[in-house]
Symmetry: C2
Subunit: 316 residues, 2 copies
């Protein structure tokens, strides 16, 4: 079968990105192009970092699971987190919004209030947007920020330590609960609806000399794979160093004795950060060392490929 017959479902999200990025050129303005948490762009007189995310109703959020306020908070958080993961501080965002004509205007109001409230926690604001009618609610966000020294996924070296900041597994546990019709554990459900990214941790890591960084949006192991591949190093983490939130343990137990570690290693959308630091660097406050980078490739847990379930994913 020729490539021309393939659907986007057949080649998948990452396949599609690989394919279309082949036709993208560059210029002296493009300091860092596609492929990291954010791009780094020159202006006539300086630089900024920028990232974009598109959220589709029924795939990234459900209006019957989360309030408009929560969805606004989370849409902002997902994008602020990308700037955070570059070691940057977000300053401004744009928001494109499309929705069915019968959506209550109050829903849009509340979503924007949630969005702005989340942005205000880092001092950023909406500076522009667009609206359109559509068959389902679409929230497309672009975030900009300042980063003195943007930290990419590609700078980890053998000998570095691996550390994370923020919470892991809570959103995935909340998703698992909601998808089974539960409304508890409340901490997990709330964590799914309105995550709390560690916004101060990104710039702190950059200042402390982080060699690579990424936000955990696909899951800790999947995102460490991104660092491993981009940097050309092997990464091993120690399971016992990971904090398992009590609500994750409770939910895993309520689901018939699942391993809570699966949620912690595989869950995204808490927007934690994971980074590498030189072996002799002091890891900043809020960061926990969980492993190290070595010569080689791949990501292991306690020296072995992880074979447990990490199938507690966000909407695809």
């Amino acid at each position: 079968m020729s490539n021309d017959d393939q659907t986007i479902a057949a080649i998948g999200e990452f396949g599609l990105i690989d394919r279309v990025t082949r036709s993208i050129g560059s210029s002296e303005y493009v300091l860092l192009g596609p492929g990291d948490d954010a791009a780094h762009v020159a202006t006539a007189d300086g630089t900024f970092v920028v990232s974009t995310d598109i959220l589709i109703e029924g795939r990234h959020f459900r209006r019957d699971w989360s309030s408009a306020l929560d969805i606004g908070h989370k849409a902002a958080a997902a994008n602020l987190s990308d700037i955070n993961a570059m070691g940057g501080v977000a300053t401004a965002l744009t928001l494109a919004f499309a929705a069915p004509a019968d959506l209550p205007a109050q829903w849009a109001d509340d979503m924007v209030v949630g969005f702005e409230t989340e942005c205000a926690t880092v001092g950023a604001h909406l500076v522009g947007g667009d609206v359109s009618a559509a068959d389902q609610v679409v929230i497309s966000v672009t975030a900009f920020g300042d980063a003195e020294r943007p930290v990419t996924r590609g700078g980890a070296r053998a000998g570095d330590v691996v550390a994370y900041a923020g919470t892991l597994g809570l959103s995935a546990a909340g998703y698992a609960a909601l998808s089974r019709g539960f409304r508890s554990p409340k901490v997990a459900v709330d964590g799914h609806r309105r995550p709390s990214p560690p916004y101060a941790a990104g710039p702190a890591a950059a200042a402390a000399g982080a060699t690579s960084m990424i936000d955990v949006s696909d899951g800790l192991l999947a995102d460490l794979e991104h660092i491993s591949r981009s940097s050309g190093v092997a990464i091993d983490i120690q399971a016992e160093r990971l904090d398992v939130p009590e609500a994750v343990a409770t939910l895993a137990s309520a689901l018939g004795g699942l391993d809570p570690l699966g949620f912690v290693l595989g869950g995204g959308e808490d927007f934690a950060l994971v980074a590498t630091f030189p072996g002799d660097a002091e890891v900043p406050a809020g960061w926990t060392v969980i492993g190290a980078a070595f010569a080689g490739e791949g990501v292991t847990v306690d020296g072995e490929p992880y074979t447990g379930s990490t199938g507690h994913r966000h909407f695809a």
Copy 2:
């Protein structure tokens, strides 16, 4: 009926924008916030302009009317035009793309090629993006650029002359043709599928001292209304000074003797520019003087409110 019961269809696009922008704060980074063609944002070391647009299949484009290549060109053009309308030069764009799982990957490839090709005409490039599945094709674009002196909609003064650059009416005539099942006049249909914005005209106008500027995306009269209201001036234009493209005249005649001026005054999406200049300024090459700004309010044609049809609109 309380506001809480209103749908977004009931309050309309501009009503929704008015409503949600009330909850938006500001900071020292926001040099110009929502409400113009683009926002103006400070960085640690400089500034940039930024604009966003969301395009929805069936509303902003149809896959049976336009090729993927054309749709990519047009999606880029719409956003590059907003930067042009600030007197800026676009340098980088992000693209968020959502589509049904059965969309051929080749369609996405071609769309991105068209997008990049259009961007390359001004030296800009894609720097990042996101992809997702969705029920219909969604193309959400954010464009950034440099503008030495961003020109807003709000600076027109009584005594200024009004001038435009680019083409008017062609896209609307092409839309009218396509919507009746015609494939001609070719120049109009091509103009609808792949408009040719006057990219050099925006920076030239800013350099020549333009006091206000907007791109014609809603239609000349509607967009002059934006300048009139934002600047607090009346605007009168002379119909005989407007160029009526031959293809517009041909189409208007083929539709039973419609007034071609309706397409020129009401058609958007050619991404022409209209601006005001001080009465004693020299209007740059490529710009045609069509009228003047006066004390007062409202937009008139030959001294009278225009009462002809301008109902040749793009997708809503």
